[in-house]
C-alpha cells in the first residue's frame, strides 16, 4: 500500500500554505502588540 499522489500534493501545498499563513499571523500579532505597547 502506498501513499497516493493526491495525498502528497495535499501535504506539499498544504505545508507551504501553512507557512505563508504563519508568517502573516506572526506579522499581524507583532503589529497588534506594538500598537498596544505589549511587545515586551
Amino acid at each position: 500500500m502506498i501513499f497516493s499522489s493526491g495525498f502528497l500534493t495535499l501535504l506539499v501545498y498544504g505545508s507551504l500554505a501553512w507557512c505563508v499563513l504563519s508568517a502573516l499571523a506572526l506579522g499581524a500579532m507583532l503589529l497588534r502588540d506594538l500598537l498596544r505597547g505589549e511587545s515586551w
Partner: protein
Amino acid sequence: MTEDAVLLAPITGWVLLAIFSLLWVGLGIYWGQRNKSFEDHALAGRNVGLALGSATAAATWITSNTTMLAPQFALELGIWGMLAYSMAAFGLILFAPMAKRIRLLMPHGYTSGDFFRLRYGRTAWGIFLVFTLFYSLTWLVSMAMAGGILLEALAGIDYVWGMTVILAVCVIYTMRGGLAAVIGTDFIQSLIILVGIVVVGFAVLQNVSVDQIHANLTANKPELVDVLFPAALMAIFNNLLFGLGEVFHNNVWWSRAFAFREGVGSKAFLIGGLVWFPIPVAAGFIALASGALNVAVPSPDMVGPLVIANVLGEAGAIAIFIIVFCSLASSIDSLLAATSDLITEDVYRRLFHPSAAPETLKKMAQWITLALGVGTWAVCVPRIGTLASVLFFAGPLVGAMIWPIVTGLYWRRANSVGAIGGMLLGGGIGLVSYFQIGWYVASTIGTAVSMVWVLGAAWLSKDRYDWNLLKEAS
C-alpha cells in the same frame, strides 16, 4: 565537497555573511541597552508579549537540522520521514500547558535547574545538570560545526572561518543583549526562514510537479511512498519523544516560560508549535524531487541545497544560504543564552555565591557566554562528527527526563527516588539500545524505562510534595 563544486561564489557568501552579521550584532547591542540586572539579561524582564514569544519558540526549534536534516529524512525515509520530523512540533505544543504551570508554581524561577533542585533535591539536580549540560553543549557544538560545514559547502568559505564568524556573531549579540536580543532577532529570523522556504518551495514546484515526483518515487524508490515503511514508522515515535524530552527539560524553553508575560506562555508555545509543524514537510519534499529532477546526491545531508541550487541557480543558492544562516543563528544564540544562564544560576550562584548582586550575576552570565563560545570554537576546530549522529546520541538522555518533569509538575506523589532512578535507568538502557539496535528506538526505550520507574516510585510513595516550596524568592 571541493571549492569547484560549491553552489555560490565565495565573495557572495562573504557579503551575505557580513550583512547579516552586522544586522544581528547591531540589534543585539541596541536591545542590550535596556538590560540593567540579571533578570533583564536572562529573562528579558519577564515581560515578553505573544508575537515575540510565539516567534522565538518557533525560531529556536528551527535549527539547521530542520532545514538540512528534514530533506535527508525525506530522502531516506520518504513521506513518513517528513511527517516523523514534524512530530517534534508536539514538544512545543505539549509544553504549552506546562509553561503556564511553571510560571504559576515558580514566579521567581530562573532555570529548569531551579525546578530540579527545589522539587527533587541536590542529587537529582546534579544528575539533571550533567545530562542537560551534556546535551546543550553537544547541541551547541553540533550547530557550530554544522555552520562551518554548510558555509563551506554552500559558498566555499573555509570551514574554520565560517564556523568562527557564525559563533562570534552569536556570542557578541547574546553577550550584549541577553535574552532580549535573542528573542528580537528570533522574530526576524523566523520570518526570513518562513518566507524563504515558501519562495524556494514554490520555485521548485515550477520545475517539477508533485505528480511527477510521486511517479518517479513509485517507479524507482517505492519504499519512500510506502504507508507501512517500518523504520520510518519507528522514527515517528522516536522523534516525537525526542522533541518532548528536549523541550520539557532544556533551559532554552524553561527560560522562555519564565520570560513570557503572565498569560502569554501557553499561547506562545502552542502557536510556536503550530508555526513549526509544516516546516519539515515544506523543506523536506524538495529532497523527494531529486530523482524526478535528475539531481545527483553524493551526500544525503546536502540534498536540500543541491536540489535548490541545481533547479534555481544562484538565486536559489542565495536563498538557501540565508535560510541556513538564520536557522543556525536562531538556535546558537538561544543555546548560548540559556546555557550561560543555567551555569550562572545553578553553578555560580547556587553553589558558590548565593548572595551575589544582580549586576554581578549579569556580568558573570556575559563572561560565561564568552567562555562557552571560546570552548565551543576550540572543540569545533578539529571538525569531528556529522549533523545527525551527535544529536541523536543524546536522545535517550533527554527522553529519560520527560517523566520526572511531567510528574514533578503535576503530581505531588512524584519523588526523588523516582526522578533519580528514572533518569539513570532510562538514560543508561536507552544508550545501550542506541548502540545495540539503532538511533530510531533509543529515545523510545529510554523514555519507557524511565516512565515505569518514575510512576512505580510515585505509586508506592507516601510523600506529598508541598507546591509552595517551588515559590523560592529570587
